[in-house]
């Protein structure tokens, strides 16, 4: 059995854990930071000093590592199944290696970015 198939339970638990984490935090992060981040509502909360303080805090760093990492692995697994649904087995390598490859890249970038704060 290929390694990627031997690790199916791992992909699935990352998918499930990522789903829960994203459900809890992503809508608020998108609304609070990406949509309203530049507004007067968030001017105090997301000022450079406060944002850096929140992000550099050990809990903040853990949050900023765990959320995108689990999120990327969740998205990769779901993307893999999306490819299978649309393109069948022909797309299996793209979905699996492409998806998980991007998730690995995302993990490395996330960890290095957060640790560099």
């Amino acid at each position: 059995m290929k390694l990627i198939h031997k690790l199916e339970p791992l992909w699935w638990i990352l998918f499930g854990a990522g789903a829960f984490v994203l459900c809890f935090v992503l809508p608020a992060l998108i609304l609070g930071v990406l949509v309203l981040g530049d507004s007067s509502l968030m001017a105090d909360g997301l000022s450079y000093e406060r944002a850096l303080r929140l992000a550099s805090n050990p809990i903040g760093k853990l949050f900023l590592i765990v959320v995108p990492t689990l999120g990327f692995w969740h998205c990769a697994h779901h993307f893999r199944h999306l490819m299978l649904d649309f393109f069948g087995h022909a797309a299996a390598p793209i979905g699996a290696y492409g998806g998980y490859g991007l998730a690995l890249l995302g993990t490395i970038v996330t960890v290095s970015t957060v640790l560099a704060l």
Binding site: A28, L29, L46, Y48, L64, F72, F79
Partner: protein
Amino acid sequence: MSAAHATAPKTPTAPARKPSGFPLGFYRYRNYTIFAFTSIPMAISLACLVIGVGALGQGEEAWQAWLARQATPAFRAVHLFCLAFTLYFAIRFGWVGRKIGAGRIGPLPPPPLPLPLLGIAPIGGFVTVWLVLVVILGGWLS
């Protein structure tokens, strides 16, 4: 199975037909496909947030510039698009995900809650945490 049945020649079969309306023709398959598609907008949002963390690490000017760029019409449209799909994902996952924990898991017996409640409770939990998180980000309590 009798020996005669086992050795009887098989007639040629017509190939299996795909489920009707899959992936986008039937509303339930369509919802399922959209649910799978949410992985792409969510990954985009996560990537934007990681880039934002990178900007934060580069100093105040980079951070403010990054925040301002997210507010431009093109970026705002992308973020609202991603937010819509993320909300759809959260509601649907909270609802269908109720089945994951509804039975016996190893030594843990099934929870004594009816299935619909097991679905509404997580969604309630999600909304609560969203509100708390937005308040924390906005710094409105301190």
